[in-house]
Symmetry: C2
Subunit: 599 residues, 2 copies
Amino acid sequence: MAEEAFSQRTITCGGLTKADAGKKVVLNGWVHRDRNHGALHFINLRDRYGITQVVVDDDASKELQETAAKLRMEFCIAVVGVVRLRPDSMVNPDMATGEVEVKADSIEILSKCLPLPFMIDGEAEPNEDLRLKYRFLDLRTEGMQKRMKLRHEFVKAIRQYFYKTDFYEIETPTLIKSTPEGARDFLVPSRFYPGKFFALPQSPQLYKQILMVSGMDKYFQIARCYRDEDARGDRQLEFTQLDMEMSFVTRDDILAIMEEMFNEVFIKVMDTKLPEQFRRITYHDSMNTYGNDKPDLRFNIEIHDLNKLAVESTFALFNTTVANGGFVKGLCAPNTEGVSFSRKYIDALQDAAKIYGAQGLAWIKVGANNTLSGGVSKFFVGKEELIINEFNAKDGDLILMVAHENWKKCCTSMGAVRTKLGKELDLIKKGFEFCWIIDFPLFEFNEDENHWEAAHHMFSMPQSQYLDTLESDPGAVKGDLYDLVLNGYEVASGSIRIHDVELQKKIFRICNIDDATAQEKFGFLLDAFKFGPPPHGGIAPGIDRMVMIMAEETSIKEVIAFPKNTAACSPMDDSPSFVDSIQLEELHLKAIFPEKKKD
Amino acid sequence: MAEEAFSQRTITCGGLTKADAGKKVVLNGWVHRDRNHGALHFINLRDRYGITQVVVDDDASKELQETAAKLRMEFCIAVVGVVRLRPDSMVNPDMATGEVEVKADSIEILSKCLPLPFMIDGEAEPNEDLRLKYRFLDLRTEGMQKRMKLRHEFVKAIRQYFYKTDFYEIETPTLIKSTPEGARDFLVPSRFYPGKFFALPQSPQLYKQILMVSGMDKYFQIARCYRDEDARGDRQLEFTQLDMEMSFVTRDDILAIMEEMFNEVFIKVMDTKLPEQFRRITYHDSMNTYGNDKPDLRFNIEIHDLNKLAVESTFALFNTTVANGGFVKGLCAPNTEGVSFSRKYIDALQDAAKIYGAQGLAWIKVGANNTLSGGVSKFFVGKEELIINEFNAKDGDLILMVAHENWKKCCTSMGAVRTKLGKELDLIKKGFEFCWIIDFPLFEFNEDENHWEAAHHMFSMPQSQYLDTLESDPGAVKGDLYDLVLNGYEVASGSIRIHDVELQKKIFRICNIDDATAQEKFGFLLDAFKFGPPPHGGIAPGIDRMVMIMAEETSIKEVIAFPKNTAACSPMDDSPSFVDSIQLEELHLKAIFPEKKKD
């Protein structure tokens, strides 16, 4: 050995207990806190495993006292010393090692630390870019340490499930062909082939289907995926999904595997028992009852269909909407302690509804003894009981209603109101509410481009009863699609896949992709389907989002070690960055800079 | 459920035994073989788990007989039938299910298969591009199925070891900053920032070091890495490594972890007990004894230092080489049954030596009764015993020697001869011979660019005894570097890292990277080292190469599901490919095609 020598730890900073009293130990770690009480010097020494109190006693050597005096926050040090029990009055029950301390015999400074840009032992620094620039410090915080551990444990438990159930983990390529869905593909220029590019995968979709054609039967992969999306919301250029696919299965097989997996994983990682089966809600019912296709079931406000009730009222808008084939829907916001349904608050709810197309939000306040007041209550005179019974409404509740000719807009407007109320009325119970959304439409109409497109992706199987009317009535076709929803987030999306060349081509054509383009872009999948493909299907839960929800965070950046910021840059390594022009030349590329505007 | 219905398997094609006789079962799989014996029709049905013989008896319904007649190789089918014992004379002991067969009641064709471009049940198709174009069929072969399983089991066993030993698996980013080593970086153009690029990582090196600064303590990752290398030899644009790093460790800690891990993994996956510790050979000794730094220890030819012996001879070349401070080295090729050391064969050995700089290869044949003949034997008259004793040579052996003024060229020339003999004399024993190569030089001189550069990478720690002479004598500096070698392949490379800003900058400067460039390119690592970095080190075994060796293959393409071909293309998906000009415009790029040469 010819390295720089240092005193190597004999135990971690989380490992000492009463039983170790009297032992000589070496600890390595960081100065978490550092207090001087006259001649006594207390150092809280931290590593990944915990914190141990180190004491430099007043009888310490001059050398040791001088070294201790040099210590600053986050210095990395080695401590040689003896474990001793703390005096009873000094025992810290909040600390795993709180019954003991280490009396230092010597301290080595392994490396120094500049003054910190933010504190590591307190609340998270609010400035995101500062956190990301100094991510190496941010990752030392208790929160980030816990979340990195949680992510590790989560993925570990997932893998252990798939190991046990005989899935193969198979790596699919990440330098692949760009596809027509490729508008959001990252491209990678080829040095050997001027003008040609690889693409980074948005998912391993085609390759996992190819693996099924290859007879791999049960496949999974924790796969890095890429999407060059506009930098808005909580998105990352790269993200991670659990990708899985099985042969010779139907929808219920996939759902059962996922239920079993998440049950096992949540027991292991969260110590939480999930229902053995998750609720299954059709897309149509979810829209009707929750106003979206990713319902948050942690609170039980439900949207009611009020068409029957609406015609009992004298409200012309309601009457004509129903008469014209439209929809009236409503919900009852419960009277919660401390919330007043002020005019201002109702206006804010209305604004939320309007984003989804509502022209307005009708409201009625419920009073004592089955009375109604305010808003559109005047149109319900004599019908108070009808409306109160509909919602089983109580004194102080608020009825909110939308009328719209368009079913989807009526649903989603009410959904926005429901979601806002759930958060703001503090109705959301702790816990994990999974559900399946099934029976999705296979196609949706792209108004901008004036053609049908796949609601999920083009490889999903239409339900068999629609096979004859695919082309004549695409809008009515339901697919063998399923989303897994958790606490109001879509956390996985999957389907039974097409495995028939002609059906696949038909779907491409409906999505405005002619046979020649399909062959050029997806030829290898279509070719594979000519050689005995098995029936197959799969699903792909998003790892980042799942861990975010489990960690009770609201941004996936909190569960990614080195995320990009909201401007899609990395403040730490300053990427993306300019490169040498010689590198571009080697790639047969020239950068074209947008012309600067004249003053 | 509203999918296309099919008869779903109740058991796999590998699962039936005698005990199942009489049971009604459903099998799903592929027609592996298909034989007609008059009215009897035998189908070998295959899935990932095995093969089961299905019989269509002569009493089968007309419908079933008609379906059976339509079957062709690799059709995907569902069989409903009853398990029965085979007659004693028909039992196939080579088949796991060889005691039973399934009498078909009905057969559904799930999908058809075109005539195959190559056979799936025989030897591997020799045409590589054809295999890769139809990889979905190639992956159905027994060999590829076994190797995908082996790879899965290998990576699984690795993960289980790291799970158990408290490492965190942490994902590092793959859209990162391009570094000065970046000549072989793949670049990814940014859509948001004209002229700026991300790079794909050649390894997670900097990020795993940052994770150590973050206090993550023990990290691992099965990481995809990228290198835009020239398409020669057995290389892939993307490859996978087990990346690991630990804090507060010395070299021996890393070596011990790897030894423990590979011991556990090889027991699980290969049923092979490895030595608890692997041999450790210094770089200098490995070069001297095996002629390279990745010795194949499965055969025991050793290179001898012959300087003393050379001066006893009357061979002027040997005498002057030694007198001028040069080197004479030699080995003894054993007389192996069936190999004749013809002049032509010796010429071929000489050609191998010349590639590494030898001017010639001196040889002597050993005869009966301590006699020498041929080649340079005339210069050793009267010294026969000396040379015979040196090598403990036997009748029929061949002594081969190189004289060179340059130690390294003398070693590697002899190394090339050694390697060739090992393969061609069939000396290589079965099994797995691991060893560590340690004490590597830290720098090597780049003659083309006329400066020193890092022999491995710039982040490795010099051994402490050289800290004062780094700049004055870079060539003499040994680093805390270690390679793991298996059966003549380098399978892992690692080091204790630098964690001191000033030392790191000094290394950069020796490698011709000035402080400004270092700050621009590696600023985030240098910054991190200012905030209490721990001593740390790690290693990164290559997964593809390890599995290749374990599978006794000679190309990593055999253990990758979807590799690129030797021209760095994918014949299956035809990537890389041209993209729409509008996509390039969005990326602010223009393709520059090399001018065509005039006729």
